[in-house]
Symmetry: C2
């Protein structure tokens, strides 16, 4: 299978590398890492064992990649104004477009230009960071859940899940993409924002009882908003929240990408992770006072004149 990776950050590089190692042809659209990867290849430092791809097919322009079988999108959502122009050159008549971007609104944006039935979305539970140019660090987790934008459990989504799984990336196809997107937000909305706002990592948040309680309160707001979206089945808030906390406990000292981005004074993915979910909750009549407060405070920080 020929796979094009758009948005080769920590997520795109890691999954692309895993797929290439499994024998697929992978074309990476690269920006800052282009020189390093072209000359030295890609080094993956993984909790499951390090490996190196000495030859990587890297491009500086999407136009030169040509049509692929699968477009894997890991672009940061704050760059979504470029999404369509980056995807367009890779999208042929039989291309599947899979966005693993954070938050809500990404499939909808693609569907404004591409046929809805070409589009899939997925959520990645991946702890990874970029290191030096040409290096990516896989710190934990890694599994993906994906589904059709049009809904239902298609043969194609199951085939893609198989491809990932065979490449060492546990992957499950589901029938309700919207549900898994909201489920992911139950983690992202508290942890991404609170760590970015306070510059304290997930362990520090969970070790301080008042912020541990706050994480749960925010998660409960997201569950309530999710369950007002007519999902195929409701999320069982109590046990789900408990599971999210349990899953986070072992991620000792983990700094989510939003915390890293804020620390490096980079823009944050506020639209996809906060603004659109808040709009959808409000439309369904669900109040999210803590989430709204968090969004307001994060957005205030974006107004820093020194921000790149």
């Amino acid at each position: 299978m020929h796979i094009g990776v758009i948005g080769s950050g920590a997520l795109g590089l890691y999954y692309g590398a895993m797929l290439q190692r499994a024998g697929h042809r992978v074309s990476f659209l690269l920006r800052s890492d282009y020189d390093a990867i072209s000359s030295q290849g890609l080094q993956v430092h993984s909790i499951n064992g390090d490996f190196e791809l000495s030859r990587v097919e890297g491009y500086q322009s999407a136009d030169r990649i040509g049509h692929v079988d699968l477009i894997l999108i890991g672009l940061k959502t704050f760059a979504n104004q470029h999404l369509v122009e980056l995807v367009q050159p890779l999208a042929g008549p039989d291309t599947a477009i899979l966005t693993l971007q954070n938050g809500l609104g990404n499939e909808e944006l693609l569907a404004e230009t591409f046929p809805a039935e070409k589009i899939l979305g997925g959520v990645a539970f991946l702890c990874s960071n970029r290191g030096e140019p040409g290096h990516v660090h896989h710190l934990g987790e890694g599994r993906i859940r994906l589904g059709e934008f049009c809904g239902g459990l298609s043969p194609r989504s199951q085939q893609l899940a198989e491809i990932f799984s065979q490449a060492g990336v546990p992957c499950e196809a589901v029938d309700d993409l919207r549900k898994i997107r909201w489920e992911k937000l139950i983690w992202n909305i508290p942890f991404n924002g609170l760590t970015a706002l306070t510059d304290k990592n997930v362990t520090e948040l969970l070790s301080h009882p008042p912020t541990r309680a706050l994480v749960r309160d925010i998660m409960a707001e997201v569950v309530a908003a999710a369950n007002a979206q007519q999902l195929t089945s409701p999320i069982n808030g109590g046990p789900f929240i408990e599971r999210m906390i349990q899953m986070t406990e072992p991620m000792l000292g983990y700094s989510p990408s939003m915390m890293v981005d804020r620390r490096k004074n980079r823009p944050l993915e506020l639209e996809a992770i906060y603004a659109i979910p808040l709009k959808m909750a409000a439309k369904a009549g669900v109040g999210m006072p803590r989430t709204e407060m968090l969004y307001s405070l994060l957005a205030l920080g974006e107004k820093d004149p020194d921000r790149k």
Copy 2:
């Protein structure tokens, strides 16, 4: 009148200086400013005109001050474990004890040791900062409202208001101390905490519509909590909040003391401004989700191992 100032920070130094300039004898308990003030006096840089007190009666120990007519307390509440021992040596049989400290719980703490009828409390609307040792900057406002801990409009409270007013500090005696304390919290709870948490000043908060709305939402929480405390008359939330916002608009670029303290990695007055009001609101059955969230996040920051 002989006045002893306990807690000679920006507030204690400014009011003490105004009273001394008006002809009162003022004894300052000093710590970090002792050397500078002993050798060079106290410089007041005020929007109403700079002035200098070349001779200042400064002490390094409260024991050496002796009994005074009025004890003026400006101690930061995070040092309240020392409050009684600092006040004790100044308190004679006819001494009035006036705390202008922030938040709730200060009069109650004094009343555990001193007779309740000796105690008054007040709220200061003062924009001031300390500069170099021996310098205090009066940036705006300055008025005081004070009242008896035991309630009612006493001749003593009116006399004290007169003394401040004659010294150039607009001052009003009121019959309901608890009400003015809660009214002050309507400003302090949003502005102190949000500026400390985000490192953005009051003007930045008000210029960003979502945080401007957040300030109002938090103010509304405090009004609801206040009006559940059986005040002599309820606070009229809408107009009061509007007035607080209008009052803050001209304070261009003002950094409240809590923001300055956080920036300097000093402890914050979280107990008096957040913990006690939250407890009293909870006791009255009033929820304050945004205030509670703000408190949790501020308290998380206090856990910094580098904090002094």
